[in-house]
């Protein structure tokens, strides 16, 4: 199940991008699990990768290829992460690139590999190899929806978003897809997300744009505090719209805002589809001395199993929120200065339960599917927001049975 997540709408083509999918039976049966995304010559490329010290083989190869050559294609598979696979994993990821390069007539270094799924099993390259010629022959500009389906693992719904933006009288297109519903946390972007636009923008500015957008979106969500070995978020700009975006321009600000909007939509979609999620919880921390301490408080709440199980039970057990704030490690924090709200209901002030608070008020908020926890620290001017889910039986079920 998912919380307020809409069925995937039609995802619009982006001029200069062609895609195709196939079923290679890597892990799942009777569904597509391989995607190739091809971009035209001259496409700019930006990427944000996992901060996990043991990043997976495809991440190592993708980073290297991105710095060595101008990317022309991504090869993506679900069902197997090709992580914890040592030298064999690196060879397998490289071979996938070579297979695609041969079909597309480019260098292997112009192909970036991405994998998601079970860790620690060798990638069945032969099965991927068997479908690559088919995939290459079927590349077309109208397959974003199929791609969004094919990259799913524990996701219950495909995730994507299209936007168009009018800049100086011309429209540019932005389309993005993402997968991920567990093993997500802020140190890293997301599991996998691929976004493309037909704007023209140089690599460096595109990377700055992606960094900023990811910081406000994928780096503000957490399901379970775990960071994957494979997380990658890629942004391609083909230039085919003829709209040229320059640093410091008004157009750039609008472009960055639009990319951020797509990233926030995709990031929130992951939370709405978080493993076992029954609630969508926004944790807002206000009046901190700096953003860091706001985030420390927000993530301590968002990662607390006790807070998350109380939300699953729709139990206004605000004491657990209070205890989480208290152990978030802020120096010199004074209970009497803090107030805590569930939506608009004040639950804690002046060092204890709010005088106006009634259990019925708390229950009314907790019965909702989408809830905001707001903590006012009363010690500064900075604010932050993160998004998370509750912790349910189904979270345990999904993760206990993942490989069975």
């Amino acid at each position: 199940m998912s919380v307020g997540l809409q069925e995937l709408s039609y995802l619009k083509p982006v001029a200069g991008i062609r895609l195709s999918t196939a079923a290679a039976n890597i892990c799942y049966k009777d569904r597509e699990d391989v995607v190739v995304i091809e971009c035209c010559e001259g496409t700019s490329c930006a990427g944000v990768f996992t901060q996990n010290a043991f990043c997976a083989a495809p991440v190592i190869i993708a980073r290297k290829h991105m710095s060595d050559a101008e990317p022309r294609a991504f090869i993506i598979n679900s069902g197997n992460a090709n992580a914890g696979t040592g030298n064999q994993g690196l060879q397998d990821a490289q071979q996938c690139c070579e297979l695609v390069a041969t079909e597309l007539g480019c260098d292997a270094a112009q192909v970036l590999p991405f994998s998601t799924g079970v860790i620690g099993q060798n990638l069945p390259v032969d099965r991927i190899q068997a479908v690559i010629p088919l995939v290459a022959s079927q590349l077309n500009d109208d397959a974003w929806n199929q791609a969004a389906q094919a990259i799913m693992t524990t996701d219950t719904m495909a995730k994507g978003k299209s936007l168009s933006l009018n800049l100086g009288g011309k429209d540019i297109a932005i389309t993005g897809i993402a997968k991920g519903s567990g093993m997500i946390r802020p140190d890293m972007a997301t599991l996998l997300s691929f976004i493309a636009t037909d704007a023209a923008i140089d690599d460096e500015l595109l990377q700055a744009c992606l960094n900023s957008a990811v910081e406000k979106s994928f780096n503000r969500i957490t399901v379970d505090g775990d960071t994957s070995t494979n997380d990658s978020c890629m942004l391609l700009a083909t230039g085919r719209s003829g709209v040229n975006i320059q640093q410091g321009s008004e157009d750039y600000l609008q472009f960055e805002q639009a990319i951020t909007e797509v990233c926030i939509y995709l990031a929130q979609s992951m939370i709405r589809d978080g493993e076992g999620a029954t609630k969508f919880i926004s944790v807002i921390v206000e009046q901190g001395k700096d953003c860091r301490e706001c985030l420390d408080v927000a993530y301590t709440i968002a990662h607390s199993p006790l807070v998350k199980t109380a939300f699953f039970a729709s139990d206004p057990n605000w004491g657990r929120i209070l205890a989480a704030v208290g152990r978030s490690g802020l120096q010199g924090m004074v209970l009497e200065d803090i107030s805590i709200y569930l939506d608009d209901t004040c639950i804690v002030e002046n060092g204890g339960v709010a005088g106006s608070y009634t259990e019925a008020q708390g229950q009314a908020v907790m019965d909702k599917e989408e809830i905001t926890i707001r903590v006012v620290l009363g010690r500064g001017q900075e604010n932050e927001c993160v998004w998370t889910t509750d912790l349910s039986y189904d979270y345990v079920k999904i993760n206990a049975e993942y490989r069975t």
Copy 2:
């Protein structure tokens, strides 16, 4: 259920300590929930308290009274934590002390209050008041087992341990009790633990002994990463055995070792009775540059919901352990240097799955109730060990239904 936790044995009296229990109907029905522990004049007292910034009213009062006067009694209740209760909470805790002091004929500052249970509800002092005269009249030296029962909250079994130690031809007694099975983590001692000995030892040395013992026991366990507002561990030394323990003596080393043994037993009991626990997991990290980084790796593993659900499923999904090590934040860590073992089975070496590893070997280990994860970092000489549990349906059930 619990993992390998033995039924509470008979807990031996400690000369100079009298206890008594009663049922005040604070939260639970038909069970005892109030304990008074009285110590003789001249007893030394040491304590370790929660590091949570919002510590509960009884913790604030206990700390203050301990520094103001020589403690003569503890008043303990379960079912209500008297936390997040503001000024009223402080008044309530103080009133409990006064009620006990009146009955025992001492100053209120010589009574230390302790509470555990639901956060954010005012303590029903009237119900405690109603039983205090009875409790005071029934104080006796042989009620440690009843006290261990009365301080339980979500515990499924009472926890306690008695030891005797021969020093210079004379025996000293050590008896300790503890409660707690969730909301436990290393920043703090435990939920509640009370230990007494009839050795003679001054306050300062007793505190040093307790600090050392807690560091090796209660500060090495985690169930869910949450730190309570109420955690307290107290150690009393009545001196009634006539055995005098001096700083730097061989006796002191033996004494500290015995206290540590009791603390480790009690701490491990909490893990064995961890909320919803089906596994007892030791996480050993070896060959780190310093203890801090060993603990960072150990706790990242021990707190990972993905690792914990895999253990619940008895699934040798070692990739999740690898991913947890990778995100533990150690600078310059190299996958190729790391090896990981499940009990004696090597699962990861040379950057990938061990050549000798078979899924059957991993499954054989995972099918056991008690499992050791051993991570060899290969970058230094320090080792650390923490103890934790898996994450089961019942953890969610217990914490979702706690107040219902």
